[in-house]
């Protein structure tokens, strides 16, 4: 039989429904009549014959329902009917509907928001052709069993590139900040300095012109530039004849050889221009100069493990050939997509788990509400059953109502999720890659739809099965809910709710405690009232180090003259900026093999840098203005450095020689003083040993400025920029940032995780409270009669109150106990996110348990008070 026919007959049936119904009625009547006549023919009385015929035929309504169920159109029709009926039921109980939709919407909304973060950060492919074959290659250094990844040196890069067989292509790059000069005020550009293989590795070609060629990798040959599409549009209005023209970067001319396609961004957040890397002869031999990022494309069919084996072999050979420079270094390749999110992935997955728990709590909540309501609707359902509705039909009806709730909630949740995403984009930590790409896209919407439907199944099935249970006759007579079993199911759900909330609260409490602990740790300097900005000047304007130095002197003098400024200093890399610069060094008078030389962080700073940030001098003397070029080279050591390298307390007076330069000039000096420790890499990271050279002896062309002001740091920003660009128009000045913001930003990820988990825990708490309130209220309503009798027999209001409270708090206590145990077991998952707090921190557990208990008391108190207002007379007439 053809499908068309089936569809046709179904459609006909839909449109001629009434006629069909009439005919079925008539046909059945005829059937019963015939049966009765037959029986009379064999001698039954008329009455007996009719009765027997009816019994034989069975329930007519049920039979009709079976006949109706034959066609496909019936399923559709009854679904529409269920929908209509469901809508009517929801409209009739606006209070229930509002609470259920709100609770679900919170749960689904939180899940949607969390998932969209995961989608944007972890799941979405990187925006390059065939991006899954891209790997990041890092240098590694193992110390104390912990492997740390570093950037790589040019000679290592070339050896990897030329000797490995696992990669189709490999390139190295580093980021630069340049001034776009010669076109009015200098503009800041983010520039990628890359080797020529960048285009082949990323499988991208300029939309206009060409990419780099290998010869342009050399310094001197590299004065060509490929513009980003955005810069091309902004500076040349998108004109094709921009090719071949020159732009000035840091006052040096670069020929435009290409323009990248619209939408191309590399690295992820994008840059303004791409310039060949410009290696000089010297750097080609510096195996210790780790400053390159390396990306490679796997050859087809080669796995990451194979690539690592390949690279490992090459590195072993390099270690053998250059024991002094490569002796301690290793190499490690990882898919770029996973290398990007290394320690972010587990944190986000823990949060996804937490938000899933919130969803479970919401479902348990709705489930409880539905079970309670099913009790109220018992009579209605029994009636429908008696009128011929099959059990399946009733379950379908109840599930449809659940689905309606879930769909409404899903819709509302998108609004909540949208708000959540807006705030994640503006407040989310900048060091989670691609977090500002979160959006409600198709994948996220599918997820929302899926969890809406799954949640409807979760919370709808139990009440639906329960309330459609077949005990027709008894139920028609009495609508009293008397099933103990149902009560037990509800209590179990309630206890589970409280337990899950306890767990989430404890987890959030731990993160908050850890965060407060970190916040209260002193970073070793005082960032309040300090403004920072970065300044770079074009090398070409300054013939030598002393010319540069006069520029910095002039700059400091002018800044100090600004109103409100109490001190201003310079340093080459700010604490918490994420930059590091470490070097091995040799102590005069000690003979150690080169490979065992110690290494430490190295900075260049002016005397006022320490004064401005309030870094205390512990011993010896501070840099002075007399420590200048031509004078004796001087160093300051941090306390940790002094203790670590000179345990005898004899740091002062030691002469050190560094492998790398602490500026363009200085790589040696005598320790003249010891200063306080600074948490350079954030308060949650160990304090590094640190040496400072005098900036005035270093000849730097780019520094960070710190300015302490009595006024608001933010207000000073514009003025400072003006002053600095007044001295050299081509100087590159960054946005001014209050230092406090930078310090807070260094804890950004932790703050983000804490806020998310805190929000989830708060949601869980609210949901559990609503659940507790709902169940106790319901139970009070059910027990009105009993309470009335008790009061009529002389029970005091206080006793009634106590009785109801006892019941509610019993659940809460049970949930709390289970939750505490679960928290102690499962919060281990948070370990990686905690600093200085154990996962079973007693204080946190006690405080969060108390909070939960207080909320539980409140949630029970409201209905309990209502119970005490029961009027015995009214209660006894109840029912």
């Amino acid at each position: 039989m053809s499908v068309l026919k089936v569809i046709g007959s179904g459609l006909r049936a839909l449109f001629h429904k009434q006629q069909e119904e009439r005919e079925l009625d008539e046909e059945l009547r005829a059937y019963v009549e015939s049966a009765a006549e037959e029986k009379m023919r064999i001698g039954m009385s008329r009455e007996d014959a009719w009765r027997a015929a009816r019994v034989e035929t069975g329930g007519l309504e049920g039979l009709k329902e079976d006949v109706r169920d034959v066609g496909w159109e019936v399923a559709l029709e009854s679904f529409v009917q269920d929908l209509r009926y469901g809508l009517r039921m929801l409209r009739k109980n606006p209070g229930f509907t509002a609470i259920a939709v709100l609770a679900l919407a919170l749960g689904i909304g939180a899940n949607t928001a969390m998932f969209s973060v995961i989608e944007a950060v972890l799941l979405r492919p990187l925006p390059y052709n065939d991006a899954k074959e891209l790997v990041r290659v890092d240098s590694t250094w193992e110390r104390g069993g912990i492997m740390t990844t570093y950037s790589s040196s040019p000679p290592d890069f070339f050896d990897w590139r030329d000797q490995s067989r696992s990669f189709a292509s490999m390139f190295a790059y580093h980021m630069g900040e340049n001034a776009l000069t010669g076109r009015g005020d200098a503009k800041r550009m983010r520039t990628v300095m890359a080797t020529a293989e960048m285009f082949a590795t990323l499988l991208v070609r300029p939309a206009l012109g060409r990419g780099f060629v290998a010869e342009e990798n050399r310094k001197g040959a590299n004065h060509v530039v490929v513009l980003s599409h955005a810069l091309w549009r902004a500076e040349f209005g998108g004109a094709a004849d921009a090719l071949g023209k020159t732009i000035e970067m840091d006052s040096e001319p670069y020929t435009i050889i290409g323009v990248m396609p619209d939408g191309f961004q590399f690295p992820l957040t994008g840059s303004d221009a791409y310039v060949p890397i410009g290696f000089d002869e010297k750097v080609m031999t510096q195996r210790g100069a780790h400053y390159l990022h390396v990306l490679a494309r796997l050859r087809t069919g080669v796995s990451v493990a194979q690539a690592n084996e390949d690279l490992g072999g090459i590195m072993a050979e390099l270690r053998r050939l250059y024991p002094d420079k490569d002796g301690k270094w290793g190499v490690h390749a990882d898919r770029w997509s996973s290398a990007l999110v290394g320690d972010i992935r587990p944190a986000l997955l823990v949060l996804l788990g937490a938000v899933g728990l919130v969803m479970l709590i919401a479902c348990a909540n709705i489930s409880n509400l539905l079970v309670a309501r099913a009790a109220v609707r018992r009579r209605e359902l029994a009636m429908r059953r008696a009128l011929g509705a099959g059990r399946l039909r009733l379950v379908r009806q109840m599930m449809t109502e659940g689905l309606l709730l879930a769909v409404f909630a899903g819709g509302a949740s998108l609004l909540l999720a949208h708000w959540a995403l807006v705030s994640i984009i503006s407040f989310g930590p900048k060091d989670i890659p691609r977090i500002d790409n979160v959006e409600l896209n198709t994948a996220v919407l599918m997820f929302t739809l899926a969890i809406s439907v799954v949640s409807a199944l979760l919370f709808g099935l139990v009440p639906a099965l329960r309330s459609s249970a077949p005990e027709v006759s008894g139920l028609v007579k009495s609508a009293v809910w008397s099933s103990r079993e149902a009560g037990r199911a509800r209590n179990a759900l309630l206890i589970a709710e409280v337990a899950l909330s306890m767990m989430l609260l404890a987890g959030a409490g731990l993160l908050i405690r850890s965060f407060i602990g970190l916040r209260s740790l002193s970073p070793g300097f005082d960032p309040s009232g300090v403004l920072t900005l970065n300044v770079g000047v074009p090398d070409a304007h300054y013939k030598n180090s002393s010319a540069l130095q006069s520029y910095w002197d002039e700059l400091l003098a002018q800044l100090r003259g600004l109103p409100g400024v109490t001190s201003a200093g310079l340093v080459n890399e700010l604490p918490m900026s994420g930059d590091d610069f470490s070097s091995s060094f040799r102590v005069e008078g000690r003979t150690v093999p080169e490979k065992d030389e110690p290494s430490a962080e190295l900075r260049a700073a002016t005397p006022d840098y320490f004064r401005t940030l309030v870094i205390p001098l512990k011993k010896g003397r501070m840099f002075t203005d007399a420590d200048r070029l031509g004078g004796a080279r001087v160093l300051l050591a941090s306390e940790t450095a002094a203790r670590m390298f000179f345990p005898g307390g004899d740091a002062i007076g030691q002469k050190l020689r560094f492998g790398a330069r602490g500026g363009y000039e200085v790589n040696q000096g005598e320790v003249v003083g010891i200063v306080g420790d600074v948490h350079y890499f954030g308060v949650d990271a160990p304090v590094p040993p640190m040496f400072y050279v005098a900036l005035a002896q270093a000849g730097l062309d780019g520094v960070s400025v710190v300015i302490r002001t009595t006024g608001s740091p933010a207000a000073l920003g514009l003025l400072s920029r003006k002053v600095i660009q007044g001295i050299d128009r081509d100087a590159l000045v960054s946005e001014a940032t209050p230092f406090e913001e930078m310090v807070a930003g260094a804890l950004g990820q932790r703050r983000f995780y804490m806020m998310l988990l805190g929000t989830f825990a708060a949601l869980a708490l609210v949901l559990a409270a609503v659940g507790l309130y709902g169940v106790i209220s319901y139970s009070v309503t059910q027990r009105t009669q009993e309470i009335g009798i008790r009061m009529a027999l002389g029970a005091a209001r206080k006793e009634v109150l106590a009785m109801v409270m006892r019941q509610g708090l019993g659940f809460a206590a049970a949930g709390l106990a289970v939750g505490l145990v679960m928290a102690m077991m499962l919060n281990r998952a948070l370990k990686g996110l905690l600093v200085g707090v154990s996962t079973t921190d007693p204080l946190t557990l006690v405080v969060t348990a108390t909070v939960l208990l207080l909320v539980a008391v409140l949630a029970c108190y409201v209905p309990a008070r209502r119970a005490t207002r029961v009027d015995p007379m009214v209660a006894l007439r109840f029912e």
């Binding site: 089936v6 007959s9 008539e26 059937y31 015939s34 069975g58």
Partner: protein
């Protein structure tokens, strides 16, 4: 859902075939069909209205039977069902299939030890 085989019931899946057979002899109304099946089977099969009517609706939807309202033998309006051409085809095919199966089952049931 159709009930499993039980005393007086029809073997699952065969009711449609029995109805088609009955109607192949002559068009008939609902009650008559039930009676006829009972008669011919000598009371072994008793089909109740609960199975008959859904089956009528099903067969009609599939185009295997057609119905019309007519006066019955005692001059009442009754809905008469008649087999269609595709109904006949379907019946022949099913009957053939059924006979093959019965024969096979019978052979198995009557097999002696030696044959097995």
């Amino acid at each position: 859902m159709s009930p499993g085989p039980k005393p007086g019931g029809v073997v699952q899946g065969t009711l449609d075939m029995l109805i088609l057979k009955t109607l192949a002899l002559q068009p008939m109304h609902g009650y008559g069909i039930g009676q006829r099946i009972e008669q011919i089977s000598k009371g072994v099969f008793q089909v109740n209205a609960g199975s008959l009517f859904p089956a009528f609706r099903r067969l009609e939807r599939q185009g295997l039977i057609a119905s019309e309202w007519r006066a019955s033998e005692n001059n009442r309006r009754a809905k008469y069902y008649a087999i269609t051409d595709s109904g006949r085809k379907k019946f022949k095919a099913e009957a053939r299939e059924w006979k093959t199966q019965i024969a096979a089952i019978a052979r198995i049931l009557e097999a002696t030890e030696g044959e097995l």
